[in-house]
């Protein structure tokens, strides 16, 4: 197994965190993982993205140029990275704020209304977790509980009260594409 992922969105959508949680969960399962942020002259409101590899074997290139899955949280990310999906790969689109469909027909596109679902859950910040739930449902590359363990590690015990809404967000995201 080699999952080569690109997570992209605008600064503040939590795309770097999505990638980190996935990498951490992969590590907990004993897989080889790498997480690499784009750290260029990114500006507020501009795009942020990260490359995440998860594999049963040691990882070569940490830079994902041809992705098995691309997650686009906003329109500029979709425009920039749709072409980076490998033929037959997956493209996850945040349909809450992206007003177009995938243009390619040789890939599998999934539309997830991340922001709407997050608002329904009463916490707009979990839109990224909704998308991560959809991603996990389709790729099955790590266990959802591992992602929540990773989140707890990241948040610390003091914010453990946020775990239930994040679990719900993952589940709703999975349901949106299930």
């Amino acid at each position: 197994m080699l999952e080569q992922n690109l997570f992209a969105g605008f600064g503040g959508q939590g795309v770097l965190l999505m990638g980190q949680l996935l990498a951490y969960a992969g590590m907990l399962e004993g897989k080889y993982v790498s997480w690499l942020p784009a750290y260029g002259p990114e500006m507020r409101g501009g795009t942020a993205n990260c490359s995440v590899n998860i594999s049963d074997e040691p990882i070569g290139s940490p830079v994902v140029s041809k992705a098995t899955a691309v997650v686009a949280m906003n329109r500029p990310s979709l425009d920039k990275f749709e072409s980076a999906v490998q033929p037959g790969g997956m493209l996850f689109i945040n349909s809450s704020i992206i007003d177009r469909k995938a243009q390619r027909e040789d890939i599998r596109a999934y539309y997830v209304p991340c922001n709407e679902i997050a608002e329904e859950l009463g916490n707009g910040k979990v839109a990224n977790m909704v998308m991560l739930g959809a991603y996990l449902e389709k790729t099955r590359c790590v266990d959802m509980e591992g992602v929540l363990d990773a989140l707890l590690h990241k948040l610390g015990e003091k914010k453990a009260n946020l775990i239930p809404v994040n679990r719900e967000a993952l589940k709703r995201g999975a349901g949106a594409v299930g």
Binding site: Q20, A23, Y24, M27, Y32, V33, S34, W35, L36, P37, Y39, G40, P41, I59, G60, S61, P62, V63, S65, K66
Partner: protein, 353 residues
């Protein structure tokens, strides 16, 4: 010990602390700011010293002073900042003092970019500062290897009383990977030569100096250095040969680019092309024999050097094969990182040509 997911810069800083480094002097520059940031939080808690100097020149001279007093000491910077440190590094080499310098290479020349690059190979391996000196230079290709080499770097610096560089790039510095950091690896030898204070009759006076006015005295010092460099070449050269047995195509790359080559090799394997990689782990001393033997093996048809530069290490590769084989080059000057697909395509094109 359980693995931890760590960013390269932070892992390097912690590895240095576990290797016994208690003095860090630096000045900020992207993409290595996570190192001084980490040190500024950790050093005060363990009785160490973190000091943000007023410039890179000041920082390396603080390293010079601490090294002279026998401390395990380091600094870190990125390309333009390393250029500023070069005078100090030459002095440290001339004064025969141990220290560790981390360079998270970014694009150049000038202020260049903040993205990963390998444009400092010449500077690292061919001098950089003035005079007949060398630095041992380790080029890690993963966060774990950066940790392990960091710990080796302090030991080797002390062993040979020489500055040692860990030559990585912005990708190694910013990437997170699962790692294990061995604890308390520091085992600094007793340093009789350190300037730690002197009482009459205790020992010979310790003097830190790189000035030798008499020609004969300077020659004695440089010959001592050269003898040491020959010993380092013999004992400290590190290289990885990957998939080279029976390969018809040999790639040569170091650091992050070497990993990308491994992905290209896997892609080529799927298309029935057997390619291998020879990866210098020390770029000085350069593993000339291993590179020669991999590239000039009987079954090898072609060889390619890949770098994020206009072609720097390729000069050492060509010296190593000494005309026995043509060496092709793929690289980008500046900061554009070659992709695995691009490398595989180049190999296929060369094969077809």
């Amino acid at each position: 010990m359980a693995k931890n997911l760590m960013k390269g810069c932070e892992a390097i800083a912690e590895a240095a602390i576990q290797a016994g480094c208690r003095y860090f002097f630096g000045y900020p520059i992207t993409p290595q700011n996570d190192i001084p940031e980490y040190m500024s939080a950790r050093m005060p808690k363990i009785g160490g010293c973190f000091l943000q100097a007023e410039s890179e020149v000041a920082a390396i001279n603080m390293v010079y002073g601490a090294a002279g007093a026998g401390a395990r000491v380091m600094t870190s910077s990125s390309s333009p900042g390393i250029s500023l440190k070069m005078e100090g590094i030459s002095y440290i080499a001339g004064a025969e003092l141990p220290c560790v310098i981390v360079n998270m290479m970014r694009g150049g020349p000038g202020l260049g970019s903040i993205q990963a690059s390998q444009g400092d190979y010449f500077q690292t391996t061919k001098g950089g500062g003035h005079g007949d000196y060398h630095m041992i230079a380790y080029a890690p290709a993963s966060v774990q290897e950066a940790i392990d080499l960091m710990q080796t770097a302090f030991d080797v610096a002390d062993k040979y009383r020489t500055p040692v560089m860990v030559l990585a790039d912005g990708i190694i510095g910013q990437m997170m990977e699962p790692v294990e950091i061995k604890e308390n690896t520091g085992n600094a030898p007793k340093k009789d030569w350190a300037t730690t204070g002197w009482k009459k009759g205790e020992r010979a006076r310790a003097v830190v100096n790189s000035l030798y006015i008499e020609v004969e005295d300077l020659e004695e010092m440089t010959e001592r250095l050269q003898a040491r460099y020959r010993q380092i070449e013999k004992d400290e050269t590190l290289v990885e040969c990957y998939n080279t047995d029976g390969a018809e195509f040999i790639l040569c790359a170091y650091g992050t680019v070497a990993r990308i080559c491994k992905t290209a090799i896997a892609q080529l394997q799927k298309q029935g092309v057997k390619a291998g990689l020879v990866r210098p782990i020390t770029v000085w001393p350069f593993p000339a024999k291993a590179v020669h033997d991999a590239m000039c093996a009987p079954g090898v048809k072609m060889a390619l050097c890949v770098e994020i530069s206009a072609g720097q290490m390729i000069e050492d590769v060509r010296l190593a094969v000494n005309g026995e084989r043509e060496i092709a080059f793929l690289g980008h000057a500046g900061s554009r990182v070659p992709t695995a697909e691009e490398i595989a395509e180049k190999v296929l094109a060369m094969r077809g040509a």
